[in-house]
Amino acid sequence: MASALKTYGTLIGFVLVVLFFWIEIPDTFMTAKNWLNISQQVSMLAVVAFTMTIVMVMGDFDLSVGSMASLAGIVAALAFRDGHGVWVGVALALAVGLVGGLLNGALVAYVGILPFVATLGTLTVYSGLAFLVSGGKTIFGRDIPTAFSGFARSGISLTDTVSLPSLTIVAALVLLVVWFTLEQTTFGRRLYAIGGNKEAARLAGIRVRRLRFLAFGLSGLGAATAGLMYASRVASANPTQGSGLMLDAIAAVFLGMTMSEEGEPHVAATLIGVLILGVLGNGLTQMSIDSYVREVLIGSIIVLAVASSSLGKTKG
């Protein structure tokens, strides 16, 4: 019983949340249209959470993802304003994400700063840079090419009324890539070994420093991707728009970790974590419940999920 609660508690909680909204909002909640809507709403959080999973597999954190997402959006928007095309802006933003992520990796792996401290520092740096290069203003309107902002509104039509949003497809692709990387490649296996026992991994011939360096690069890349998705969705970029992502992403990974026997993050479990947060947001909004209540609820659910899994552990 205790072990079932430990492994499936979070999943059961997710089902209960879904059932609750299904009963409370019978007309609109359990419809294909609403679920596709949820998938689009969570797509940016999902991308950040998936790539955050990569660093958390090693037992590390990346606190800078939110401000990196903002910075990447700003960089793309500035490129657009200077008359560059969509692909140039996107490539520049992704490059900034990769370099910023690798800088985190260098600080953590080669300089030896704790990830918490290193990325707390770069969180502030990237956020400051976003304000600096944008002059603190939102970039919008005709500066943003319609090809870019149209992407978030596009999708693949499924029926006359519903379509699969492009942002959802991006998130699904990132999920697939991260899943493949973590679960099917030797790179992923090495990351899990580092998370399990860094010293043993190093002595068994794993290049711990290089892998940590690279993994943070991927996290930065994911953050930049999410920043671009956000900018496309709201057809503008402002230096604070990614700030909510970091805490939610870490929360989603933690929720996922409660579903693993070893307490290891797995990206499929992170997806459940993301969906829990997304469904709560969507359902509570439809019920016109204050967004502050959502925060209280989400916080409580995280504590509850982690508590139930650690209680299971001490008993088992």
Binding site: G196, I206, E264
Partner: protein
């Protein structure tokens, strides 16, 4: 040996301090104890022996009040008692000293001894540090320990001295409110991390405790130590007590037979093939912060032993060769080719396999499976399409090598943390031989391993050397070195003190060389 001579002959009384009768305990259907009995007298050191999984830890946990037995009786001074919690255990005068130390490294010795107790005060508010240190010194002196300054930070002590402080703490618990004075000490592998010298110091303390009338239950895999220290021993096998014997007149081989229930013609497997003349590994002028100018060579099919007191350099040599602690001065060559190794990853790539000293901290990823642990240094050989891990090949590798090292498991995907210590060590061995290395560098390969697994590991070393592999074996287990190695390098203070052939060498001779005793026989 000296202890027994020094002790007044009537010291071991017939007064039974603790008696355990017919203890049964099952975990989820698996029987851990079934008919375990033990009787400890006041003023005796009673060794508790048995292979891993024989039930020693469960029995100790019952005494500690951590595990509740299904059946059986425990009596202290002839009166039946129930130990329902660790607090009960403390109240009854039982004290536990484990091999894993729980000390606060950044506090002083005195603070560790009096942790959780009221410190002496000055003017009601300020801590009277001098008073605290004086009290701690008195407690230590009570155990005959005078060389540890009570004001020193715990972290700066050797592991052995930390163990002594730990015992002092257990001793001090006597003054806990409502607690009975300590009467029975349970020591679980206390010397696992100690050097021979530190062990001797610990034994002196144990002998004092015994002389003061305490009972000591002593658990150790080191037979020689038990023969030296204990008065009687009780052997557990498969959860049941098979025998209780006086140590006097008992042969080591008898003890091993009692523990494993089968006869060994010899405690060590015989050499299978002669040593080749080809040099496999050559080390010249190896120097680091710890080591000075270490030079030696190992030939194919040879086992080279590294001996010395704890921290004399034997472990450091191995770590330096594989680049575990960064760079070093000096030259290393493999089969005559010079190699540069600054990280463990290049050691593995060049055909050097490394088995680290601390199985749990440095050897295993305990959350991963057997197959996942075995494959770790060899993942590049298990790749399809450039980056996909070939899981089937990985599992197959683990099964093949598991058979070779005589691993007992439920399958290649079983988590290693579910395995016993001996089987965990076999997983580390399987990893070491997976890439078919030319040289194996082994740091304490049989530490904390039960007798059966130890024999399996020794037999494996014979097989590997017969295949032409060279083995460097650092060990604090002197009989292992004497019987397994072809030559032994003795280290002292980071330098090679001497190199001896094991031909005609006995344990006492090797011990004398380690201590640098002038009466050492020339070998």
């Amino acid at each position: 040996m000296d202890g027994r001579r020094c002790r007044p002959p009537d010291r071991v009384s017939d007064m039974t301090l603790l008696s355990i009768n017919g203890l049964d305990k099952s975990f989820a259907g698996a029987r851990a104890l079934g008919g375990a009995s033990l009787e400890v007298r006041a003023g005796e050191v009673h060794a508790l022996m048995g292979e891993n999984g024989a039930g020693k830890s469960t029995l100790i946990k019952v005494l500690a009040g951590v595990v509740k037995p299904d059946a059986g009786a425990i009596a202290i001074d002839g009166a039946s008692v129930t130990i329902g919690s660790p607090a009960d255990s403390l109240r009854l005068g039982l004290r536990f000293i484990h091999q894993e130390l729980s000390v606060v490294p950044h506090l002083s010795v005195a603070e560790n001894i009096f942790l959780g107790r009221d410190y002496p005060r000055r003017w009601g508010v300020m801590i009277d540090w001098d008073g605290l240190n004086r009290r701690a010194a008195a407690v230590l002196a009570g155990l005959g320990v005078n060389h540890i300054p009570p004001g020193r930070k715990m972290a700066r002590l050797s592991v052995g001295d930390q163990m002594l402080v730990k015992i002092a703490t257990a001793f001090q618990d006597a003054s806990v409110e409502g607690g009975a004075p300590a009467r029975l000490y349970v020591m679980d592998e206390p010397t696992a991390a100690l050097s021979a010298e530190e062990s001797q110091r610990l034994f002196a303390v144990i002998r004092r405790l015994r002389a003061a009338g305490a009972g000591i239950i002593y658990v150790s895999h080191r037979l020689d130590e038990v023969m030296e220290l204990a008065d009687r021993l009780t052997v557990l096998r498969d959860g049941a007590t098979v025998a209780t014997r006086d140590i006097a007149g008992l042969q080591k081989l008898e003890v091993i037979e009692l523990m494993i229930g089968r006869r060994f013609a010899e405690g060590y497997p015989p050499r299978l093939a002669p040593v080749s003349s080809e040099v496999a590994l050559n080390v010249e002028g190896l120097s680091t912060a710890y080591l000075q100018d270490v030079t030696f060579e190992v030939r194919k099919g040879e086992i080279l032993g590294l001996a010395g007191l704890e921290g004399a350099g034997q472990s450091e040599v191995i770590r330096a060769i594989v680049g575990a602690d960064g760079g070093h001065d000096g030259a290393v060559s493999l089969a005559g080719r010079p190699v540069k190794i600054e990280e463990p990853v290049s050691a593995w790539a060049k055909g050097l396999a490394f088995l680290p000293r601390e199985r749990r901290q440095e050897g295993l990823v305990s959350s991963a499976s057997i197959a996942g642990n075995v494959s770790l240094p060899h993942l590049d050989d298990l790749v399809r399409f450039g980056l996909v891990l070939d899981r089937a090949a990985e599992a197959e590798q683990a099964v093949d090598l598991g058979r070779k090292v005589k691993l007992k498991s439920k399958g290649p995907r079983q988590k290693v943390r579910e395995l016993s210590g001996g089987n965990q060590q076999k997983v580390v061995f399987a990893r070491a031989i997976a890439g078919s290395p030319d040289v194996l560098l082994l740091d304490e390969p049989t530490r904390g391993v039960d007798v059966g697994a130890r024999y399996d590991i020794h037999a494996l070393l014979r097989e590997l050397t017969a295949e032409g592999k060279a083995v460097v074996l650092a060990s604090s287990d002197l009989p292992e070195l004497v019987y397994m190695a072809d030559r032994i390098i003795v280290f002292r203070d980071g330098k090679v003190a001497t190199t001896v052939s094991t031909e005609g060498l006995d344990q006492a001779g090797l011990a004398a060389l380690c201590f640098g005793t002038p009466t050492a026989p020339s070998a």
